[in-house]
Amino acid sequence: MSLRTFELEIMRYDPDKDSEPRFETFSVPCEEDWVVLDAVNYVKDNLDRTLSYRWSCHMAVCGSCGMMINGEPSLSCKTFMRHMPDKIRIEPLANFPIERDLVVVMDDFMDKLASVKPYLVAKEKKAVEDGSYLQSPAQLKKFKQYTLCINCTLCYSACPQYALGEGFVGPAALALAHRYNLDSRDVGRSARADVVASNEGIWECSFVGACSEVCPEHVDPAGAIQQTKIASTLDYFKDLITPGRDK
């Protein structure tokens, strides 16, 4: 298989030695079928063992190898070297603090994800022997797209509102909240509303749409947020017309 040599300009940051990040360039001979993650693995295995980054599945399922590749939030396991120019700049995902090299601190995202209760809130808890919660294919279709989120946080890296706005809950968490709100088995919508329908929730989004453009699973978080805005507005007027209505 043919080899092509690339210059990888990788952002490095060692909290013990560096006061700020710097770039280090590596020359990497790549095979035709390599993805960016293979090239980064080559650096780790052959050129500098101290390079830190996250990865696991190598097949766009685990969502852990997100990086800025030539300024674009991308999964490094899904970005083929053969589509790349000879010089590639690799940085940690934007809008997150850098822990070390390409590893970012994800605590803020994890906290926000937990805050929207991204799990099924059932009306009555069933015992295992009582069987599963039934759902028709049509009911499943309403939200299936939003179940495909792999929590890779590329959408947070692409979102200027997350970068600039203090406290924005962010695209993936709001898309997952929408996923459960649309689920016919779920009754947790009003419990999620305190976070989802707050100023830091859907109303902080101004529909830049970058989240949906970079999403590797085509979840379309921007669409989910706009749909939630409409549902939340309807809720407001319904509450105004019929106070104390059953939700």
């Binding site: 909290p15 300024g71 934007a94 749409g209 453009e213 921007a222 749909q227």
Partner: protein, 129 residues
């Protein structure tokens, strides 16, 4: 080994120059300024109309100056950009599903364009054009 996370800063005034998609977004947002200004011109026109024939003639003359024509062309371009960009994202905000079948986005977008054409034609008819 100690933890010392590094926080990158983002310019609050020039962040949108980093990506073409951010520039497109800002163009869409700025378009509302032009549409707002055009609305202001229409309101002034109505006020002049209520003040009599002379005031109205003055307004019409002002509308025919080169600066006014350039402003109207610019406002039209931004209004078209504003309208088409919003129409094109309507399937995201208002998806339709009947039973097991989801309505294709192209139909939802097409319905908006059709509505736009029908309303525009009705207004032109009413205006006697």
């Amino acid at each position: 080994m100690s933890r010392k996370p590094y926080i990158r800063t983002l310019s609050s005034t020039s962040w949108w120059l980093a990506q073409p998609r951010y520039i497109r977004y800002m163009a869409r947002e700025v378009s509302c300024v032009l549409i707002g200004a055009y609305t202001g011109v229409i309101v002034v026109g109505l006020l002049r109309l209520s003040e009599g024939a002379n005031a109205w003639a003055g307004f019409v003359a002002a509308m025919q100056t080169p600066a006014s024509v350039v402003f109207h062309l610019l406002a039209l371009a931004f209004a078209l950009y504003h309208t088409t960009t919003w129409f094109n994202v309507t399937p995201k905000a208002m998806p339709l599903q009947f039973g097991d079948t989801q309505v294709p986005g192209s139909i939802i977008i097409g319905a908006h364009y059709a509505g736009w054409i029908v309303i525009s034609a009705a207004l032109l008819l009413l205006a006697g054009v």
